[in-house]
Symmetry: C2
Subunit: 148 residues, 2 copies
């Protein structure tokens, strides 16, 4: 199949709050007060963890169907740790982002644990968001000043 | 500073819809009807692009303040392409996730373009979400069946 393009376009409402438009959806991002924000919405790293969990959910159900079993409910817990020193300009010894990410899946299903282990390996291999965390992705930035 | 932990925990509402709880925020993820969903919310990859844009916004304002200028408004456009073949189980020749990501920043500011180029390099270096896209991150998955 041909490539699919996804785009988000948005504007800052404040130094921490950002309103991103994705098709007809408005996604508000903010920071907690501890991080200088107004806590109007989840923060950027919570957004990417939610995207990861949502992606695992979609691929999980798709692969279960292929393997011939049904997941009636799927609980997913995603977490990771960030050292804020680089973000805050305190030091460059730590990386800026999550050091690692742990994903725990709790499916309600009739499938046995051997089938679920096989399922998990396939889900891991085919999940787009997991791929973008696990592996390098070229990121290009450009800046153009707006005159108004 | 010590590490900060971020967590998202949630449950599937359907094969495509997922409700993620991040602190006191509820983040609903779905897929468009073309992808088998009910289009109740943005999809997983739009979530991660929104998180990336939101992160660039926060770090952008922080670094501008350090460099002594103000950004009165910041427009950010983030986009990328995904080939769905691996996700759909059609082939393993393509990677699952975004092949690359382009971020265009349009600040309204009094800073000159030389200052903005310097600013952009620092923002890039310190943005947590950009780091997690650009560089490898260990991702560990585990599965445990729920009996109810």
């Amino acid at each position: 199949m041909s490539n699919l393009r996804f785009t988000v376009n948005g504007e800052s409402n404040s130094t921490t709050q950002f309103v991103a438009n994705a098709r007809h959806f408005k996604l508000v991002v903010d920071e907690p007060e501890d991080f200088g924000g107004t806590d109007a919405a989840a923060n950027p790293v919570e957004y990417i963890l939610a995207g990861l969990a949502g992606c695992i959910n979609v691929v999980g159900h798709l692969v279960a169907k292929e393997l011939g079993f049904v997941i009636s409910k799927l609980n997913i817990n995603v977490s990771g740790e960030i050292n804020p020193d680089r973000l805050l300009g305190i030091s460059i010894h730590e990386r800026a982002g999550f050091q690692s990410i742990q994903i725990n899946l709790n499916p309600e299903t009739d499938a046995d644990i051997v089938t679920l282990s096989k399922w998990l390996k396939i889900v891991e291999n085919r999940c787009p968001v997991k791929d973008n965390f696990r592996n390098e992705t070229p990121v290009r930035l450009s800046v153009e000043k707006v005159y108004r």
